[in-house]
């Protein structure tokens, strides 16, 4: 819908489709310059943080999993880690491996959904997955089948695909047997091939030109040569190197006038000009900082796809997602091959002797998800802090739109709007439980 007046030109879309949830967007331009970009998201974890106070220390994994139907495992894992940290417990390796296996299922499922049904249509000029399916039925079927394999892995380890029920502080309620996991291993072998085809498919897309100088932040393990999922230090392309526990002080969340959501910034970078502490998490950041730690098949596919760890074009994140699906399939197969059910499936975790604070950080499909809990000696939670990936990326999404739109202000309204939507989807923003609709408006004076 285009609205014209003598001084302003307003481009309005009722809502941005194909994102996980609802929000609002306003872009305003005056005399060829973008003067305002506002991404409005209503951030529900605030309610959860209040709700968690006074709850038992065993409850956050299941309660916070409800924040998101797409990445519940990420919430469960970050919560478990933070509680265990507060209680002074480190889970043994076999339990950590089973967690990693479960997490692979979520990466496969979440990435396949976003890549095939939400993002790919943009690159191929289709208004939605429906039109894509009409012309390329087999491709959409492949995407749905890939997602299904992720769900099967989630169900096999977690008890069910959405909001798994088998996760507890200290480990799992029950460890699946090798025999129970055998069928999903068979399916993963198919999925690994399908993922390789996916990388080759998306590598052939046309990528709009956009280079951004974001500080990219991801986990990286100081010693284990593993692609980051569950462990590591928090590092960045600009030399940040923090223990997970330092995030509490380093991540500053700010209210911005146009949103009830909080914007996360890096404390040490504030007041230093350009980025003002804004940073980016997610596939592009993980890849930039850990490309050397992909498995050989994934590393080779990335190279063939023309990906380079120095890549700073957010539109290429779809290729990184494809590589990460391939990696997750390959890694799940490696873990399944070596799998011995942890016995016992969970280690005991008692409340701390005195009030203690614990931190957890894992790589959700969309980037690092940080949890902090203060646990009382009677097992009650005194307070909680949750910083999800999308709230960390909000500032960068706005910055991307500013840079993307400015040189293209002469574009036709419809094309520019669609390109803006595509640019937002580069980050697979997860605002599922948001209370306001995403309403994209570009005003041009």
């Amino acid at each position: 819908v285009t609205h014209k007046s003598s001084t302003t030109r307003t481009l309005k879309v009722d809502a941005l489709p194909r994102v996980e949830g609802e929000g609002a967007m306003l872009i305003r331009a005056t005399a060829g310059r973008v003067t305002a970009v506002e991404l409005r998201i209503y951030e529900p974890p605030r309610f959860f943080e209040a709700l968690l106070r006074g709850r038992r220390y065993t409850e956050p994994p299941d309660l916070t999993a409800r924040i998101c139907g797409i990445c519940p495992v990420a919430y469960q894992m970050s919560a478990c880690q933070a509680i265990e940290d507060a209680c002074g417990v480190t889970v043994p390796e076999p339990i950590a491996d089973l967690r990693r296996l479960l997490y692979c299922g979520e990466w496969i499922s979440s990435h396949a959904l976003h890549l095939y049904l939400l993002h790919a249509p943009d690159f191929l000029g289709y208004p939605s997955a429906v039109e894509l399916a009409r012309d390329h039925r087999a491709i959409v079927e492949r995407g749905l089948a890939l997602k299904q394999v992720g769900n099967e892995l989630l169900a096999a380890v977690g008890g069910r695909a959405v909001h798994p029920v088998n996760v507890r502080v200290g480990g799992f309620f029950r460890a699946p047997t090798r025999r129970e996991l055998a069928p999903v291993a068979e399916r993963l072998r198919w999925a690994r091939d399908a993922a390789l085809e996916t990388v080759r498919w998306v590598a052939g897309f046309d990528f709009p030109e956009l280079t951004v100088g974001h500080e990219l932040v991801a986990l990286r393990h100081p010693t284990n040569p593993e692609y980051p999922i569950l462990a590591g230090r928090v590092v960045s392309t600009q030399g940040l190197d923090l223990a997970v526990g330092d995030l509490d002080e380093q991540l500053v969340e700010q209210h911005v006038p146009h949103s009830t959501a909080l914007h996360a910034r890096l404390r040490d970078r504030q007041g230093q000009g350009q980025g003002d502490g804004r940073y980016l998490v997610g596939p592009l950041a993980r890849y930039a900082l850990n490309a050397d730690r992909l498995s050989p098949i994934a590393r080779q596919a990335a190279a063939e796809a023309g990906l380079d760890p120095s890549c700073r074009n957010p539109f290429r994140s779809i290729v990184v997602r494809a590589v990460e699906i391939l990696y997750a399939c390959d890694e799940a197969l490696r873990l399944l091959d070596a799998y011995q059910p942890p016995d016992p499936p969970a280690v005991p975790v008692a409340p701390p002797a005195a009030t203690a604070t614990g931190h957890g950080c894992t790589e959700a499909p969309r980037g690092i998800l940080y949890h902090r809990y203060r646990v009382e000696s009677d097992g009650r939670i005194a307070d909680a802090r949750i910083v999800p990936p999308t709230s960390q990326n909000q500032g960068q999404i706005e910055e991307d739109l500013r840079r993307f739109v400015e040189p293209r202000l002469d574009w036709p309204t419809e094309a520019l709007t669609r390109a803006c939507e595509q640019a937002i989807r580069n980050y697979d923003p997860c605002i599922s439980c948001a209370a306001h609709f995403l309403d994209l408006r570009v005003e041009r004076s």
Binding site: P17, V19, G69, I70, L118, R134, Q148, C433
Partner: protein
Amino acid sequence: VTAPSEQRQAAGPLRLVALGDPFRRDDGVGVAVARRVRAATRAAVEVVEPGGDPAALLDALAQPTPAAGAGIVMVVDAVRTGTGAPPGSVHRVELEPGHGRLPDLRRRDSSHALGLGEAIELAVALGRLPAGTRLVLFGVEGARFDPGTELSAPVAAAVEPVAAAVLRIAGQAGPQAQATATRAPRRAPGGRSG
């Protein structure tokens, strides 16, 4: 007298797909109706709650065995039509996918990454909804969608009539549905799923 195979084909699946988020007040009306229908144990209706997973919605609409023939898929969700209809109003729409154009169901303000209209069209494009499937959509006009679990009073009052309408459709398809149920234990009367 129809042959058993034809009878089975005529029956097809009889399913209720309940959409919406029960933690977003009136958005929970679909799940409330689903509970009510489940409680009526004699109804041979398979009740599915795909939750927030768009691909699960696609699976919920799709026929697990298209060869079994066209069936009846009922969908209940909260809607905000902007037509001035008072909260609690029930909009009933009947569709036959593959037979002419669908009404414009692609709500661009849907809170689902893949809206209902898109999911239906995608199911058709992928051949998962056989022609002739009867789709009955019940949209209940909602008032409040902020976080919370209570339905507003007029929306809560719509739960019973919508459940009754679902059961009436199930009753009309009753004998055939029962025949399906005896052949397919997974769709037994009152059976759970999802």
